[in-house]
Subunit: 390 residues, 2 copies
């Protein structure tokens, strides 16, 4: 985007600070009208017509991320940029990107695209117990994300060939045969978060919500600097009522970007139960990427076939948390707040391209439209998707 | 929303028109900074930070609708208002609203919620041929809608009881039994349009797009002033390529609100083929409402069970047509356009609550974020949904 300084305007018309008493007599009709115009411009232009996308709100408390700014406005179609140290993202250049439109499980079975039982990943997620200061629910301006500050004895065991080389990837299981000698590597969950609407589609259909549990793998030679694997659970809308497994998270959900809430002491997240029951834990596995910049590839994805449930009210709250916001200065109509108001606008405007720099506490933001935080589905480029039956 | 005139700001600081040559010497540092601030405020505040929801863009060519303004920003959750003659909408008070989350066809069969073959609706949609001035593709600020100006020999035959009274509704078929004496009434298509994402869900899943063909029924005693019936087709995402049945419509799709394009002479819409083939034309029928204000109830809905296909590119074009827009005056950086610019902003600001009143041609709008135009799913309140197998 090109910003051109409004020079001609500045020459022909500028804001002169004139004392009130000397002004009153001197003002011409034109001046009075011009004055009225600027006042109205200020109010209606800035207070009523400015909607901010999720990730750009001036009341955001989120610290700068470093690297190119991004949001979900165009569902990722504009993600060309660099990370904090200047390395270009993989989003637009990659050919193994996520999410994808997944096939019917039946067609995978018909084509023999299945993983035998001994090649299955296994999940072990104990209940997360909050003591009031160890579990965070974060609105990071991209998603609602849950992190824990105390050790969490959870792991996922991913099958890899028994003989590993430096080139053995965490996605090796996708190329393994039933009889092949195998072992497992440990994947440790680091956080989980949600997307609306779902990022993965199954047979061309979206789900209202998708849960991503992100894991890091380090005990594979190729992964000493870290490999990732994500477990995904889709949520379908139900008329029956709230999903109680989401209650503790939804109750602590921050509606403001950059806000972090501790889960109250005594509350818990039964993460293991957010996966389908072990008897019906069918999943589809494929090699993909992070679904947000830098869109790093080489990830092993597990998308659970059987969805969880979410109520209309729960979905609406999530859409509100990631909403488009309409923001105004708190003191916009009071004399006291005036200099402050201008000052912050000034600072903000100077750095508009880099996001707000004023004090977020000075803004009051309301929901202008429900939002979304999903990436468009990506080309599969002939990648294998394999079905693992429970 | 409350608008308060920015009086304190106007007193302390106003825009004085000072000639350039006399100003240059007289400006203090404070004045220069203030000047810079207002210039930047103007550019960044209005040119870069103001996003308009679909249905509110200042470059909209759509005429006023009459009645309360509405848009899809909150998926219909804020639809409280009146129509052009002051009658309140049914949206928030109704108990037979659309769309709804439809059950699995299997569960309808298991529960005996089926319509026998002789109670099926039948569709007859000849191909629509354009002569260059008889078929319009309209972006009305709520949806992309297709209308025809020459007679269209299409009809839909809806089953009703043989003996009709003034209380026989167009939804009577939902209460009829297999052996009951029946006749049909004719429903005439008046327009069709699309929603993204789908308004109806099936088993909690959304589809990327939904087609609504709206019909009017007049030859039933209770419908002399018109009853409606809508036929709905869901579209699922495909990786294979564009759906050629949509090509002629998509090629003529206006990207600007209120814009109307005639379909070029010689192009056609094979509307009948947009329904599933007659051998697999299973549908779910229920009593519902219009999915946009005034949300009139008493409609017979037909939702086709088998979806059509849409490509990623076709879906993106539709999301762009209903996008959030970022708008600026065309002449904002040229001296020539200046007075004009201010003038229109002034007029616009004075009437901000009633929508733009400036000349839409003065605005250049770009896509700030992909949009949506679906209504949230509504409570079913125990309504019957019936499956009709082909």
């Amino acid at each position: 985007r090109l910003y051109i300084l409004y020079r001609d305007g500045a020459r022909n018309s500028y804001l002169s600070r004139v004392h009130r008493r000397t002004t009153a007599a001197a003002m011409t009709l034109t001046q009075r009208l011009t004055l009225l115009f600027w006042g109205l411009l200020h109010i209606f232009g800035l207070v009523s017509a400015c909607i901010y996308k999720y990730g750009t709100s001036p009341d955001s408390l989120a610290p700068p991320h470093g690297g190119t700014h991004w949001d979900h406005g165009l569902n990722g179609d504009d993600w060309i940029g660099v990370d904090a140290v200047g390395n270009p993202w993989t989003c637009s250049s990659g050919i193994r990107q996520s999410p994808i439109n997944l096939p019917a499980t039946q067609s995978l079975e018909l084509n023999g695209d299945t993983l035998s039982r001994n090649l299955r990943t296994s999940w072990n997620y104990p209940t997360i117990h909050s003591n009031g200061s160890n579990v965070e629910v974060i609105n990071n301006g991209h998603a609602i994300q849950i992190e824990w500050l105390s050790p969490y004895a959870a792991d996922v065991q991913i099958v890899v060939p028994a003989r590993q080389s430096n080139s053995t990837s965490v996605t090796a299981v996708l190329g393994m045969q039933q009889g092949e000698q195998s072992t497992t590597v440990r994947a440790t969950p680091t956080q989980f978060h949600f997307h609306t609407i779902s990022e993965h589609l199954i047979m061309g259909k979206h789900y209202p919500l998708e849960l991503h549990i992100v894991h890091k793998i380090t005990d594979l030679p190729a992964c000493t600097s870290g490999c990732y694997s994500v477990t995904s659970v889709l949520f379908e809308l139900t008329d029956v009522g709230d999903n109680s497994l989401l209650d503790s998270i939804w109750a602590a959900m921050p509606m403001r970007e950059g806000q972090i809430n501790f889960m109250p002491a005594g509350t818990e997240i039964r993460l293991g139960e957010l996966l389908p029951h072990i008897n019906v834990r069918d999943y589809m596995a494929y090699e993909g990427s992070l679904t947000t910049p830098p869109c790093t590839e080489g990830l092993l994805w597990h998308v659970m076939v059987h969805p969880q449930k979410i109520s209309r009210a729960q979905w609406t709250k999530y859409k509100t948390a990631v909403s488009f916001k309409d923001c105004a200065f708190k003191n916009a109509t009071s004399t006291a707040g005036h200099r402050h108001h201008r000052h912050h606008h000034h600072r903000r405007m100077l750095l508009a391209d880099e996001g707000p720099v004023g004090n977020p506490q000075d803004y009051t933001c309301t929901v202008a439209a429900y939002g979304f935080n999903y990436r468009s589905s990506q080309q599969a480029y002939g990648r294998a998707v394999k079905l693992a039956r429970a």
